[in-house]
């Protein structure tokens, strides 16, 4: 009924996104862009889409920003409790199973599409998780609105046994392809390199969209810049008399 009166329902803050992951010779590299959209508007120019799950597991999220944040935080704390209980390093399939069973039970209403990557005792793993709860295990994966542009880069350039630098370069190229060819993705490139015993989160690894034309002198607005149309001064009248009270007697 409200819609008929022209009221716009609030649009969700979505991460129209490009997220990617690939397995290289020593582990897993995850990449993401940094634009969060609310319909046609960019809500956050530099948001963080690579979420921490465990010291050896990170997760990129696409879809509704609240859903990806909440579900990754939830599984991250479940993993921590599990680590305390078992005394062992978390495994990627543990995170995977927790995520997929949660998402499946909400039948796709929790709109989180994730690229989960990490390295554990069984080796490096990369998985994609879809909002309805299905998963894929892949050597390279992309999700989000820019996934086709990024996948075009991966399909043409991926090979097995990439070195760390080659892997970072390929991930950055895929994210840049999403940033420049997809309207839902933009701003900067975040990269996370996960190897045995060490995870490196390269926040804003590339900044391919700097602000141009910034006035070096800064902006100062002198009095008289804005024309004054009318002036009305209303003095504040005291409605309440404030009396200094006695100290409260105990």
């Amino acid at each position: 009924m409200l819609l008929k009166k022209g009221v716009q329902p609030p649009s969700f803050r979505k991460t129209g996104t490009t997220i990617v992951g690939l397995v290289f010779q020593d582990g897993v590299i995850l990449g993401a862009d940094t634009r969060a959209t609310e319909g046609p508007i960019v809500a956050d120019k530099n948001c963080e889409k690579i979420h921490y799950m465990a010291p050896n597991i990170y997760c990129c999220g696409a879809g509704t920003a609240a859903d990806t944040e909440a579900v990754t935080d939830m599984v991250s704390s479940q993993l921590q409790l599990h680590r305390y209980a078992t005394g062992r390093e978390s495994r990627v399939i543990t995170a995977l199973t927790l995520l997929k069973s949660h998402l499946f039970s909400y039948q796709g209403y929790v709109s989180a599409a994730l690229v989960l990557g990490g390295i554990d005792v069984t080796g490096p793993h990369l998985h994609t998780v879809y909002p309805h709860g299905s998963t894929d295990t892949l050597p390279f994966a992309t999700m989000g609105s820019g996934s086709l542009a990024a996948m075009a880069m991966f399909e043409s350039k991926y090979r097995e046994g990439l070195t760390r630098d080659e892997g970072i370069k390929l991930v950055s190229e895929a994210i840049c392809s999403g940033i420049f060819n997809d309207l839902g993705s933009g701003s900067n490139v975040d990269v996370c390199v996960i190897t045995k015993g060490h995870a490196e989160y390269l926040r804003n690894h590339l900044l391919p969209n700097p602000r141009t034309y910034i006035s070096s002198k800064g902006y100062s607005f002198v009095k008289g810049h804005t024309g004054v149309l009318s002036t009305k001064i209303t003095p504040l009248k005291e409605k309440v008399e404030v009396v200094e009270g006695d100290a409260m007697e105990e």
Binding site: I93, T122, T137, L138, L148, E160, F180, N181
Partner: protein
């Protein structure tokens, strides 16, 4: 999809697209045709509408030849004509359901343009239809340059087509490449690309992740 370079223009399409719903019904439909001496036309979408367009163009070229004035219609003119046809049909709510790519070389000037079924048209150095817009154009934007050689151009087109073959469900591994220069048009025989499916990760995807798929 198509690309321009030096004095040559390239077209590449898969010869299938005689699909019937989700069945790949006809696997040898030629979707690139030479129009007159200077132009190549490629289409995706409804094949019967493409054949109708070819009939219109036949008539157009016939009248042009009958003038016998030494001038012949070039790619810009064909593009404009097709744009008018598509837009007028759209205005009558009876569109020709095609995405057309027109390219050609006339008097050394090369031209590449596209017309959609609602009459949107533009000219660019590289164009694509359908899924090619999402998968191939990012690669073109990165790797196309003004002064590519013939071999480089073919390699770039094949790279994009390979990606499309992997990721578009309605693609088959049977392609034709067409080349147009001032000397004339050549449309190659259908051929297929080498693909690689041997990643060790695909051999046993749930190794180390038992229970997942």
């Amino acid at each position: 999809m198509e690309k321009k370079e030096k004095a040559i223009l390239f077209f590449k399409s898969d010869t299938e697209f005689g699909s019937y719903g989700s069945t790949l019904r006809y696997k040898s439909v030629e979707r690139i045709k030479a129009i007159g001496k200077h132009t190549l036309l490629g289409a995706s979408g409804e094949i019967s509408d493409f054949q109708e367009i070819l009939r219109y163009l036949d008539e157009l070229i016939l009248y042009d030849n009958m003038w016998d004035d030494g001038n012949s219609l070039g790619p810009k003119e064909i593009h404009n004509y097709l744009n008018r046809v598509m837009y007028n049909r759209r205005n009558k709510f009876n569109p020709l359901w095609n995405s057309l790519v027109i390219g050609g070389v006339k008097n050394g000037q090369k031209y590449l343009g596209m017309v959609g079924m609602i009459g949107t048209h533009f000219e660019d150095n590289h164009v694509a239809t359908g899924f090619g817009n999402h998968l191939a154009r990012p690669i073109f934007r990165d790797e196309w340059s003004e002064d590519m050689t013939f071999e480089e151009a073919v390699r770039l087109l094949e790279k994009c087509l390979r990606v499309l073959l992997y990721r578009d469900r309605s693609a088959i591994n049977k392609f034709q490449i067409a080349k147009i220069t001032d000397e004339g048009v050549t449309i190659s025989q259908p051929y297929s690309l080498k693909t690689f499916w041997g990643f060790s990760a695909f051999k046993n995807p749930s190794k180390g992740a038992e229970g997942s798929w």
